[in-house]
């Protein structure tokens, strides 16, 4: 056992891969949420460092009214996806929590996959596996039909981040 040097991009990829393997294997959803959330926390900055738009900034741009600060948007999104309650607890928090673990796990992975695809494309096998799962289980053709009818403001995210290969 010795210390080695790692890049955070590889760490986030490993965390997201584990999250997707657990998710597709029907394993613990809390673990999926935590791993996808941790991967997202790294991927978001890596996307920004490449001059592209991470999911959270896209989401902020769609918010009605003034654009919310990034920290606030991140906190709200991570609360909604169950990421924060799975790693933090305050002294006054109730012992129990109401959450849709299945939906939060899927959504937390989807958010992280969006940023991972922006950085690395769709070539990793585990990314392909999740996208295929989503296409089959979330009616991909219908989603794309609805996407194509969406206003340009919504489609801008995907176009801005298209990888030039």
């Amino acid at each position: 056992m010795t210390a080695q040097k790692y890049h955070k991009s590889d760490i986030a990829t490993a965390q997201l891969q584990t999250a997707i393997v657990l998710f597709l294997g029907g394993r613990d959803r809390s673990s999926v949420i935590t791993l996808a959330g941790a991967a997202s926390g790294i991927l978001e900055q890596l996307v920004r460092n490449e001059g592209k738009i991470p999911f959270v900034d896209y989401a902020r741009s769609l918010a009605p009214g003034p654009t919310p600060p990034r920290g606030t948007a991140n906190r709200v999104i991570n609360d909604v996806l169950g990421i924060n309650p799975h790693k933090h607890m305050k002294a006054d928090c109730a012992d129990a929590l109401e959450i849709d673990l299945e939906k939060c796990a899927e959504d937390a992975i989807t958010k992280a996959v969006g940023d991972h695809v922006t950085l690395h494309g769709r070539e990793h096998d585990f990314i392909k596996a999740f996208l295929q799962w989503a296409w089959i289980n979330r009616n991909g053709p219908q989603v794309m039909e609805e996407y194509n009818k969406s206003p340009e403001k919504i489609k801008r995210y995907g176009r801005a981040n298209i990888r030039k290969t």
Partner: protein, 158 residues
């Protein structure tokens, strides 16, 4: 599946069980650290809410630095174990970290386990599995493999 009510202790236990399963199975060490660290974030608060001594408080009690606080100790341990580094990235910096991932994964599980057994006991299957792994795989001169209360590390005989 709709929203359901879960005990936070169960959500933490599930994450710790996954971390141990990944660790024993030889899977990604960073995922192990992230999961055990997240579980511990919940377990520590539940232990504290129940009026028991948390792992960080035990370390503070045994530390030579009598100015050390529970909060500082918690932050210090999380920094050593890279728990925050594995879920955040700063704007600046090269994005690289140097770490013994194996040691960190083991230590993060042990930290979370200390709080978990305060709340539940050693008879949970995944705890028994991990403690058995510890006895079979770790150096008994360096690690307290039998969880003896007054154990101290001993130099290995040449």
């Amino acid at each position: 599946m709709a929203a359901q009510i879960y005990e936070r202790l169960d959500l933490a236990a599930n994450q710790l069980e996954t971390a141990i399963g990944l660790f024993i199975g030889g899977h990604d060490r960073f995922s192990v650290i992230t999961l055990a660290g997240a579980a511990d974030g919940i377990l520590t608060q539940i232990v504290s809410n129940r009026g028991e001594e948390t792992f960080a408080e035990i370390l503070v009690r045994e530390d030579d630095d009598k100015t050390m606080s529970r909060s500082r100790m918690g932050t210090h341990v999380n920094t050593i174990l890279l728990i925050n580094e594995l879920k955040h990235m700063d704007k600046h910096g090269d994005g690289c970290i140097t770490v013994d991932a194996e040691e960190c994964a083991l230590a993060t599980i042990l930290k979370a386990l200390a709080n978990f057994v305060t709340l539940r006991d050693n008879e949970v299957d995944f705890v028994k599995a991990f403690l058995l792994w510890v006895r079979l795989n770790l150096d008994p001169h360096r690690y307290n493999v039998n969880c003896e209360p007054n154990w101290k590390p001993t130099p290995r005989k040449e």
